[in-house]
């Protein structure tokens, strides 16, 4: 199987971290704010930590990311928050109060822990995964599922729109990137 991150010749059930990172950088993101997430640990966080063109800020708790990203946005800098869905759930009030009510361009990439990649998140057997999209919908947060390489094309235009309009944004990572 060709190792083609565009997905043209790739196994449709694969997701390559290199393609996601390239899309993040192409979006003008300079800062990655993160608490480690096992879904994205090897395929995203580990290579990001070695990437000289991205500055990784390791935080203690996910809601810190919302404040840091907002301060950066006020300074004209773009950031991506890389967390697990448990951390997203723990940060709901910060996302509500800052990202949604103040219309801040908080861009989140959320690993769906223990999600079955070939199911829709709403159909997951895991309660925490199943409620992620409905919560985002109720909060009016634009969201995209990134489960296969073809989904990577959604990343750059979505981040560009989030900063242009501005509004918060979530990418749900439905499969561990390789």
């Amino acid at each position: 199987m060709a190792d083609d991150v565009t997905g043209t010749h790739a196994d449709p059930r694969t997701l390559h971290g290199a393609g996601i990172i390239a899309a993040i950088k192409a979006s003008g993101v300079e800062y990655i704010l993160s608490v480690p997430d096992i879904v994205t640990s090897a395929g995203l966080l580990a290579p990001i930590a070695q990437d000289k063109n991205l500055r990784l800020i390791r935080v203690c708790k996910e809601d810190e990311c919302i404040g840091i990203a907002t301060g950066l946005a006020y300074s004209g800098k773009r950031a991506l928050t890389l967390i697990q869905h448990t951390g997203f759930l723990d940060s709901i009030n910060a996302i509500r109060g800052v990202a949604v009510e103040y219309k801040q361009p908080i861009c989140m990439m959320i690993g769906l822990l223990q999600h079955e990649p070939d199911r829709a998140p709403r159909d997951s057997s895991r309660y925490g995964v199943r409620i992620a999209e409905p919560i985002l919908d109720d909060m009016g947060i634009v969201h995209h599922l990134v489960s296969i390489d073809a989904d990577v094309a959604k990343i750059r235009p979505a981040i560009e729109a989030a900063y242009r309009e501005p509004h918060p944004l979530a990418f749900l990572i439905g499969r561990s990137p390789s």
Binding site: Y31, I57, R58, V59, C60, K61, D63, E64, C65, I66, G67, I68, A69, T70, G71, L72, A73, Y74, S75, G76, K77, A79, N93, A94, R96, G97, V98, E101, Y102
Partner: protein
């Protein structure tokens, strides 16, 4: 024991082009004492002020950021002490007004009054840590505190203030947020 507004009046004499991040009771006092475009009061969720300050400090390393946090707020975001110390922004001054109460929420005590925030900041790895209980000493040292390389942490031991009026609509006014943004990004 000091008074928070008295400390802020002294601080205001030394604040020039720094961003000042303030929330709840500290914001009410600060905005009354020093109304200025570079006041950042758009916090939105209690405890995040120190994290907003870190983001501003990272975004404009050529300028300085002063955070005026309450003790209840810091308790909700204690991990930010470790994050800030690890990132080590030289341009961040983090002050906590410790009155041992949740003043904006009825004056109830924090879980452990007299908790040692300065000790926590020192253990986390802040570059410099101060603990002030005497307003004369604070007045003598505040200029140096604001100028030295950070991250700097300061505890101000203050009395609970008289009941304040919390005009959140004014504090979080979107026009003020946009004005701050324009001023903070100026001369990029």
């Amino acid at each position: 024991m000091m008074k928070r507004d008295e400390c802020f009046r002294i601080l205001a004499r030394h604040v020039t082009d720094q961003a000042v991040v303030a929330t709840y009771s500290s914001a009410v006092d600060w905005v009354a004492i020093a109304p200025r475009v570079l006041n950042y009061t758009s916090i939105g969720a209690m405890g995040l002020d120190s994290s907003h300050g870190l983001g501003l400090a990272l975004g404009r390393p050529d300028k300085r950021v002063v955070v005026l946090q309450g003790d209840g707020s810091l308790l909700m975001n204690l991990g930010s002490l470790v994050t800030i110390a690890a990132v080590a922004p030289k341009n961040l001054i983090h002050l906590v007004a410790q009155n041992d109460t949740y003043e904006a929420n009825g004056g109830h005590p924090i879980p452990q009054p007299a908790v040692d925030f300065a000790g926590m900041a020192r253990a986390a790895g802040y570059a410099a840590v101060y603990d002030f209980s005497d307003v004369r000493v604070f007045a003598q040292q505040v200029a140096h505190v604001l100028e030295q390389d950070g991250p700097v942490f300061v505890t101000l031991h203050v009395e609970p203030s008289q009941p304040l009026t919390y005009d959140y609509a004014a504090l979080y006014d979107p026009k003020k947020r946009e004005a701050f943004k324009a001023a903070w990004q100026a001369r990029l």
